[in-house]
Amino acid sequence: MDRRTFLNNIGLTVGGAAAATTMPVIGPSVAQAAVAPKGNIPSTPLKMGHMTFLTGPAAVLGEPSLKGHLLAAEEINAAGGILGKRKIETISADEQAGTDANVKELRRMKLSEKIDLFTGVISSGNTPALGPVAEELSLLTIFVDGCTDFLWDKAVPNPKYTFRITNIQSADGVTCALAAAQTWPKAKKIAHIHPDYSYGRNAFDHFMIAYSKLVPGAQVVSEGWPKLGTTDFTAHITKTISSQPDLIVSSVWGGDYVALYKQALRYGMFKDAKFASTIAFGVAPHAIGKDHPEGAIAGVHSNYYFTFPPGNRWPANKTFVEKYFKRWNEYPNFQSDGAYHTLYMYKTAIEKANRLVGGWPDEEAIISQLEGMYYETAAGYLYIRPDNHQGYKDAVTGFSKNVAEYPFQILDPATMITIPIRNITAPPNWPKPGQGHNDPTATYNWIKETWPQVT
């Protein structure tokens, strides 16, 4: 099979054609709130715990999450609360305190503060720690991010109370690899710079397995593993340049990425090599300067970028961006979208459950509504797979470009790449690590076993 055919089969499209095709016309979901709730609804407030990076270098990724959450909460409260009665109260927690502290804080939120929903969380180091705790506590949890495959592969193999709505982590590396193979199929010498923890390892593994299927002869010529929170990348950059790569791949994110690209510019790292990142533009959009190199694959964690889908084709995005900008005077990132729609999906699940059983639904009822939910978000349709509670939507990435309308660099909506997520993720019931294979993730094994080697 040749590369073009394969990419076509997998559904990779450039320029947003996919968004148009996957867009059945449904009325806005807000309309459902008008239906009067059934039965007796208590008027006590609903308590939510939202944990995200409020400080540290990751705050540029985390603050938008809390902002998205708060915006949704404010809107819902202004409309009288969920089922018209229960208003939302949010306790926020700083994810920067460290995994151990986060675990303690989650327990405190449930056991002491008696929260009804736990949400947020960015670091993929944290969800595998927090997921089992949430299950232990029987606490309904919708992670916005913390997208590691490991959560469902190993940590919580049979989730009951935990959900997650951003795209799964393996999609990051795979999306980036497919986009790179589509764009620069001749790049064989690959240099890597990844943060030294599970996210970076995951990105490295999945990029390489997918890319080597599509580009025969691809090889790793350099590896750099800076510690999360590194501020001096000069030695990593020099090493990368010294390997004379065709393509540089990175999953460094947040404040670290800003430091990395600025230092790399001064060393001329982008001069001779192409650059592809899984998550470069995942930060709050304004954190990226106009000096960022143009034409790089600047991923958004394969989730959402505020310029796409364009408002003329997808009103939900247009409305969301406007509301968000009006409230916070900045543009949303994928965390904002995730946190915002998490609350609306939760609300929708409650409303549906209420119509079925009346009164305030118990958690079982809410969970059964969330499972299999198909929801219209700013990023397109989101589907929650019932077996693993993972949210799926089309994987997205794009190319950096300076335009006059924004004081920062954006992803060019005209050249956005989308891939149907089901085509790059292991199907349900594919063996998980430890079940007959020891590959890093089920998806890795699935790609390794089933994808053809293109010629």
């Binding site: 929170g229 000069t234 030695a235 404040g255 230092q263 001329g268 954190a287």
Partner: protein, 296 residues
């Protein structure tokens, strides 16, 4: 070859800031026998103050010429501010403890570390601050077919200048003699008419100034982020442990060793770049527990 030169330059660049931190740490220990756990935080604070000063005065208006000059001149504000902070902290928080076992001094600097870390969060917020406009304005110079940021050379010059200046200051000036005399025999120094309290304030302030300067010169190249102080402290510790606590030469050589080992680690052992540093420190400790230039 070009790569080799650039990696050497990178190491020297890294060594410069590391030296500034470690020299201050060593100086304070040498004169006052205080192991200042808040020292890395002083470095971070210096970075924040400088970035804030540059950002406030010039905004993001890059550009060269006078703007650049002004920004460069503003940078040392971080160092001066931290020296002032040190001059306040020594007499108020540390002096009451000189009569107590040294454990208390260690603990109070640990408390100070926590207070200052969060104060930075409180004052400067969670978003990194940068003075990158300086770097951009200074551009890069070509080395072979590659580029090297001009500003990094400035940092090296500052580091080297500080090393020479400090050496000259300590070994060639009146105050240096007084400083060394006080560090060796505080009582006798007093008996000869030295105001030891004042010398202590000055020494602590100079140590803080060095840390602040380290932060100030680094901030255009990187950024001021929360947590940078705790990381810096532990690296400065590796430097003084390798070089010898209380020794200026030790801080200098130690900073070079640590930076070159780090660069070599990144270049050749990317999987364990960090562990290499600590293993080196542990190895030196096993062979020469007082460090290369230290005295027990």
């Amino acid at each position: 070859m070009t790569i080799f030169i650039i990696q050497v330059l990178n190491s020297l660049f890294y060594a410069a800031s590391l030296f500034l931190i470690a020299a201050g740490l060593s100086l304070i220990y040498g004169v006052m026998r205080i192991v200042n756990l808040a020292h890395g935080t002083f470095y971070a604070l210096g970075a924040y103050v400088s970035a804030w000063a540059v950002g406030t005065a010039f905004g993001h208006a890059g550009g060269g010429g006078w703007h650049l000059m002004g920004q460069l001149l503003l940078l040392p504000i971080g160092a001066i501010a931290i020296a002032a902070v040190g001059a306040v902290i020594e007499p108020t928080l540390l002096r009451p403890l000189y009569r107590r076992p040294e454990e208390y001094l260690l603990l109070i600097t640990f408390g100070l570390l926590m207070v200052l870390e969060d104060s930075m969060k409180l004052i400067f917020g969670g978003t990194p601050l940068s003075a990158g406009t300086i770097m951009d304005a200074m551009g890069s110079i070509p080395i072979g077919r590659l580029l090297y940021p001009t500003y990094n050379l400035v940092v090296m010059a500052v580091g080297l200048g500080a090393a020479i200046g400090l050496w000259w200051f300590i070994y060639r000036t009146r105050f240096g003699v007084i400083l060394r005399a006080t560090s060796q025999d505080r009582r006798m120094a007093a008996a000869l008419g030295l105001n030891v309290s004042r010398v202590y304030i000055q020494a602590f302030a100079i140590g803080c100034f060095m840390a602040g300067l380290g932060g100030a010169v680094v901030v255009p190249a990187q950024a001021a982020v929360l947590g940078m102080g705790v990381d810096a402290l532990i690296l400065a510790f590796v430097v003084v442990v390798v070089g010898g606590l209380g020794s200026l030469e030790g801080a200098f050589i130690g900073a070079l060793i640590v930076s070159f080992v780090r660069t070599a680690g990144i270049q050749f052992f990317p999987e364990i770049e960090l562990a290499v540093l600590y293993l080196i420190a542990a190895a030196v400790l096993l062979v020469r527990p007082t460090g290369l230039f230290g005295r027990a």
